[in-house]
């Protein structure tokens, strides 16, 4: 599974989201690659992605991307991240 975490600049909040998404995917037992991107590069980064994780403000700017865009409200909440990820796991 390829997950891209998007934030405004790709260096701050998306890195925190990536770390917590990797932990959540580990707990779910899902092999995944998690990368980060800034909002301006997100369209390119979304090519081949199964899922985009970002905040509500930035999700609005990514509305026309083909991969599912999922909003995370609390980037520190392991339970919220695990729930949104498990709702969007690829069907096997």
């Amino acid at each position: 599974m390829n997950v891209v975490c998007v934030c405004g600049m790709g260096i701050g909040t998306s890195i925190i989201l990536k770390m917590n998404a990797e932990k959540a995917l580990g707990r779910l037992g899902v092999p995944a690659t998690v990368t980060t991107s800034d909002i301006s590069a997100a369209r390119g980064a979304a090519q081949g992605a199964d899922l985009i994780l970002t905040s509500a403000e930035l999700a609005e700017k990514l509305a026309d991307i083909s991969a599912p865009v999922v909003v995370v409200n609390n980037f520190m909440d392991a339970t919220e991240i695990e729930t949104v990820l498990s709702d969007h796991l690829p069907r096997s």
Binding site: G8, M9, T13, I16, M19, S55, E57, N73, N74, F75
Partner: protein, 153 residues
């Protein structure tokens, strides 16, 4: 590479009980703290504020916590953090995570540079017990001690 929080977060980069009238004043305080500690120039502070004007309050990543930052640039003299706990929390306009009582300023010289510091921060803030202790930390030394404690785990 050992994380050196005393360099990343020196006393000059910490403000506890800072009175801010609004989110802009709070972000400028986090920028000024980066400048006082020698991490950035004033231009970086202006860029942090401009990023929120442009992209919205997405930097409020968890209830009460904002991570203020801008792109790596020559306005960053060295990578560093600042830590501004507000006297009274202020609204950033975030639908879920307002009001904000802690603004963490982040300056990175490049994308890889600050990964270790970010990892320490993410670990500490995700730990509810540690996060509560950090919210009450009343000296810069205590903030560093709590952040550093998480790294040892």
């Amino acid at each position: 590479m050992a994380l050196d929080l005393s360099t990343a977060l020196p006393d000059a980069a910490v403000k506890l009980g800072f009175p801010a009238a609004d989110w802009r004043a709070a972000v400028i305080a986090a920028g000024d703290a980066l400048v006082s500690s020698g991490a950035t120039t004033d231009r970086y502070t202006q860029e942090m504020v401009a990023a929120i004007d442009r992209l919205g309050p997405y930097i409020v990543i968890a209830p009460g916590i904002a991570i203020a930052h801008a792109r790596p640039s020559d306005a960053v003299l060295r990578s560093g953090l600042s830590w501004v706990r507000l006297e009274v929390p202020v609204a950033f306009g975030h639908a879920h995570n307002d009001p904000v009582g802690l603004v963490i300023g982040l300056a990175a010289r490049d994308h890889e540079d600050h990964l270790e510091v970010m990892s320490a921060l993410a670990g500490a803030l995700a730990d509810r017990g540690l996060s509560a202790a950090l919210a009450k930390a009343d000296t810069p030394a205590r903030v560093r001690e709590l952040l550093a404690g998480d790294i040892g785990d």
